[in-house]
Amino acid sequence: MTDKSDGLSLSQQRQRAAFWFLAPMLAALFFVAAWPLIRTIWFSLTDTTLSDLYGGEWIGFDNYLSLRILESGRWIWRGTLVDPAWWNAVWNTVRFAFVSVFFETILGLIVALVLNAEFKGRGFVRAAILIPWAIPTIVSAKMWAWMLNDQFGIINDILLGLGLIDQKIAWTASVDTAMTAVLIVDIWKTTPFMALLILAGLQMVPRDIYEAARLDGVNPVKVFFKVTLPLIRPALAVAIIFRMLDALRIFDLVYVLTPNSAAAKTMSVISRENMIDFDKFAYGAAQSTLLFAIIAVFVSLYIWLGKVDLSGESQK
């Protein structure tokens, strides 16, 4: 390491080396993430249809919002931004995201605290609890669809047997319970993921703090709120962002589990429906772009308001 390397300083050399190490990943990211995103935004500004993917013409923002003035002088607004079906889907998705992430965080925290304790067979329990997360969503959705089936489902059978309900509930069909059914399955499936991320955070907490607290005779509830929670906050924040990103683009569970009714349709479902079923590819692309924008806004707000440190600077 004696040569001067074109007179670059050591840190410049390291930066340059780092760039070349990162280049393949940046290229891959560009092709699998940035390029499709740019294409989608471009499609949303054209009148592309699925039957003619490359023949779309530029129409500006008409897919989002356009104004037509009829001969009678009436003004008619068209486009996604004034489409009630779209706003219904946005509301469904946001409601789903908040409720599911809320419950998953609480339950995940509880599970993580249990798994963090020393007990016999901990390794086995840790592996076992990951099973719902490891099952492909489509399989768990179908499995739950059978369990929630109104006539033959085991859930109704158990509830009837316990006398909690007096007649069979049509979980996925009824407007009132369709969203609840989706939430139950999603929480069941994703709590392990939350637990795992939080557990990783818990294990970073130095044991001696707990010992000190015990010696001082602080009650465990207080230890949790004053010691554990502040220390795992960064891990918790990152876990919540991950889940939020995931929850806002929920598709598979809703698509498989519920009938295609307005009660549970989410943004991804309605965007796919327009793109594929209705042959309005550009309109669906506009909805996908809005979905992207909504997720971006949510995450930025969260990072800003929660002062989440994603760069890892404070850990140094």
């Binding site: 109104d150 006539q151 009938p259 295609n260 079923d277 042959d279 309005k280």
Partner: protein, 425 residues
């Protein structure tokens, strides 16, 4: 499943071996994609066996979900991408105008076969003079009823929806009182998908409420007869039909029916053969009759269904694929389908076939029904049909699940359809 994959692999390996040995590269391996209900996968293997033996080609069926809406989405994606993996598509009667560009014109090759079919069906598959697909069977739904239960309670086979509702309620109450807690009066297809469009079109049409969009393109759905029809159907949910019916497709309804838990069922003829199968709890205990009518002065209505076979423009083995399409639409395969799957043939002469009449008495009896069947408005609405249908089934699904009254939802639907129509379909 394992067995099938193994066989497919072996035949693929055999094909590769023969090609490697310099045998004439004639034996093609085709892929045929189709929705699968009942025993479709096994039956298809038996069905194509004679063709495979005669030509040396092989064909593998790629089973798809039973929902036509899901199938359509997947097919449209494959076709838009120009995928050559699938050689033949089994297409719904309503798809021809929307997918015409992607399929081979069969007018020339089927010029002898086509005239033996019902002209109206051939016409439905012809788009701008191009024969897009060949019919393999047609469909018109029926009201399935439990003979034994009607007899036991001294009830006649209903001819109007009101009679059906009354009978269903009566028998359901009586049977439940006698200890059969799981029995329901009437099961049908209430999930929000193409099937609900079929069901609801039958109610509306039989109440004299038109057919959503008329043949000349006028939007007719917002009228008081249609409102009455939907309100009637809404009255079934939770009384004679389980609330879960709002998530049922054909197979869920058949599941309930075939385990003996329903007095009436609305379903397609395929359920007739399966209902008389060895594993069926209602074997020999049921009959079929045309769907009820709205009441005095209005007739019964059955939605015209049916399936066709189309050859993909992007297939690299078109010659073999066309040969298979002709075989599947031909008399031999149609007869076989009628015998094993109680599918209605589209070849006129098969309705006089003694063997079919003996094995599946529903078929000759059904000729009249399907000849008078009501088409969905796919012809006037062209490429916008899917959206029209989706808006219609959404409005109906909302009404049935208590989200707004029929009058409100149909008024809204009219506005939406007018918007979609724009200056013309």
């Amino acid at each position: 499943m394992m067995k099938m994959t193994g066989r497919a692999l072996r035949s693929a390996a055999l094909g590769a071996l023969m090609a490697g040995l310099g045998a004439p590269a004639m034996a093609e391996e085709l892929f045929y994609v189709s929705g699968a209900v009942g025993n479709a996968v096994e039956n298809f293997k038996t069905l194509v066996k004679p063709w495979e033996e005669a030509t040396g080609h092989t064909v593998t069926m790629v089973p798809m979900p039973a929902s036509t809406t899901d199938q359509f989405g997947q097919y449209r994606l494959w076709l838009a991408a120009g995928a050559s993996d699938i050689d033949l598509y089994q297409t719904d009667v309503i798809w021809a105008p929307q997918l015409a560009d992607h399929f081979v014109d069969l007018t020339e090759v089927a010029k002898d076969l086509a005239p033996t079919h019902f002209p109206s069906i051939i016409e439905s598959q012809t788009v701008n003079g191009k024969l897009v697909a060949l019919p393999i069977f047609t469909d018109a739904p029926a009201l399935y009823y439990r003979k034994d239960l009607l007899e036991k309670h001294g009830k006649a086979v209903p001819t109007t929806w009101a009679e059906m509702q009354e009978t269903a309620q009566f028998i359901q109450d009586a049977e439940r009182a006698a200890g059969d807690a799981d029995i329901w009066g009437f099961v049908w297809q209430g999930n929000a998908y193409e099937g609900l469009t079929c069901n609801a079109l039958e109610w509306v049409k039989s109440f004299g409420g038109g057919q959503i969009v008329e043949a000349d393109g006028t939007i007719s759905v917002n009228n008081e007869n249609a409102v009455a029809a939907l309100e009637t159907a809404k009255g079934w949910v939770g009384t004679i039909s389980p609330e879960g019916v709002l998530a049922y497709q054909e197979e869920e309804a058949r599941g309930l029916w075939q385990t003996g838990n329903a007095v009436f069922m609305r379903n397609w003829p395929y359920a007739y053969g399966l209902g008389n199968g060895e594993d069926s709890a209602v074997k020999g205990l049921f009959g079929v009759t045309p769907l009820p009518s709205g009441g005095e002065g209005s007739g019964s209505a059955a939605t015209l269904g049916g399936w066709n076979v189309a050859v993909s423009k992007y297939s690299t083995k078109q010659e073999a694929a066309i040969s298979l399409a002709l075989y599947l639409a031909g008399p031999e395969a149609q007869k076989q389908r009628a015998l094993t799957e109680s599918n209605l043939p589209t070849i006129v002469s098969l309705y006089d076939d003694a063997e079919i009449a003996a094995a599946q008495p529903i078929i000759p009896q059904w000729k009249e029904v399907f000849l008078n069947a009501v088409p969905r408005p796919s012809a006037p609405t062209l490429g916008k049909y899917n959206e029209v249908s989706a808006r219609f089934w959404s409005a109906v699904h909302s009404t049935l699940s208590g989200n707004g009254s029929a009058a409100e939802n149909l008024e809204l639907l009219e506005v939406e359809l007018t918007d979609i129509k724009g200056s013309g379909w």
